[in-house]
Amino acid sequence: MSKDVPKTSTNDAATGAAPGGFGLLAVRVALIAGALAAIAYGIADGEALAVFNKGVRVCLECIGLG
């Protein structure tokens, strides 16, 4: 290796790879659960309807006319 930076390995946190084991599983499960809860709350709060109302009309700003 000509570079002095170590190669990525399977458990090398310095290069972006996450450590294995229960901690990673817990983070993933927590994020997915939190995301699902946020989606459900957002739908109940009418956000999905706002997205729908925007999506079913031609967005003039998006096409450079707004």
């Binding site: 399977t10 294995g20 989606i39 739908i43 999506g55 450079g64």
Partner: protein, 316 residues
């Protein structure tokens, strides 16, 4: 045997014949192109919209697709998450979007930047444009690294901050990213609608001209540099990059099998050095490095918990 060479493939199969790296890359790129094409077609399948110059009005428009796909594209069956986020943040009486951010976090954890590598229609367009045989440009390393921060600025300023603070008298803000920067909106939304609708053509003004300039710049840049919009401007890629440590789809490098040939670095569409930056926030998990690796030191796959399980699995 033409196109095939002998190489050591891990400890378990020392003399297994595998296709030569160039052939593997071509095969992988064909497969990836098919997936990109299928994704673009499936999520933009409202063909009538292209003919009649109108957008799809079905219930699926309430959901966001995981990639950048303008919801004003006549064929779009779902909404663009970046546009949807700006719509909610810039809406009357709202300052946070649980729904869109929840979807983005879900996509980020489950798919991460695999979306960019395999699904995004605008990424696909950039990949196609780069195949046009014109001289290619190598962005100087320091400039390249500095410009990559731009997409985070775009995400924070245009997608989040301005829709929140620049609300007008009606309590609403325009989607600034869509309105002034997004070339995907111009390509997928504006141009097909303009072709089909004379009424819309009559409304063309300065902002449209500006967006055309942006699109032309991105198109020309895509011919010269691989994935310039993904590297430097895409706010969705910036967001998904934040999940690079936890996303379920991970690339892996067996450092003991790597011979340091740097083939992977030469084929990386994001201009990364996979030996150091595999799985980083810039890695779009396209698998080009894995396909070209002569020792199959690079592998990839889905994982929920134990990375060791993947490490012991044979390269795909």
């Amino acid at each position: 045997m033409p196109g095939v060479h002998r190489t050591r493939v891990g400890a378990a199969s020392p003399k297994q014949e595998v296709p030569a790296p160039d052939e593997r890359v071509r095969h992988h790129e064909r497969k990836r192109t098919l997936i990109q094409l299928a994704t673009a077609a499936l999520t933009n399948g409202y063909v009538i919209g292209f003919a009649e110059g109108k957008v799809f009005g079905g219930a699926t428009k309430a959901a966001c697709v995981p990639w950048l796909n303008c919801y004003s594209c006549p064929g779009a069956l779902g909404s663009c998450p970046v546009g949807a986020l700006q719509t909610v943040l810039g809406g009357r009486g709202r300052s946070f979007s649980f729904y869109v951010l929840g979807l983005l976090v879900l996509f980020g954890v489950v798919l991460g930047r695999l979306v960019c590598g395999f699904c995004c229609p605008f990424g696909f367009v950039q990949d196609l444009l780069h195949r046009i045989p014109v001289p290619k440009l190598r962005v100087p390393h320091r400039l390249d690294r500095a410009l990559r921060w731009l997409k985070y600025v775009v995400a924070v300023v245009l997608v989040v901050a301005l829709p929140l603070v620049a609300k007008g008298d009606m309590g609403q803000a325009p989607p600034f990213f869509c309105a002034y920067l997004c070339p995907a909106g111009t390509l997928e939304g504006a141009l097909p609608l303009m072709v089909a609708s004379p009424q819309l053509r009559a409304l063309v003004g300065f902002v449209f001209s500006w967006k055309m300039v942006v699109l032309v710049c991105v198109v020309v840049a895509s011919m010269l540099v691989r994935r310039p919009f993904c590297r430097y401007l895409c706010p969705l890629g910036a967001f998904y990059g934040l999940f690079h440590r936890v996303s379920l789809y991970q690339m892996r490098l067996d450092a003991t099998a790597c011979v340091g040939c740097h083939r992977c670095e030469k084929v990386c569409p994001m201009g990364l050095d996979p030996e150091r930056e595999l799985n980083g926030p810039e890695c779009i998990r396209c698998g080009a490095c894995k396909a070209t690796c002569s020792t199959t030191a690079i592998s990839s796959g889905w994982e929920l918990r134990a990375r060791e399980a993947l490490a012991s699995a044979p390269a795909q």
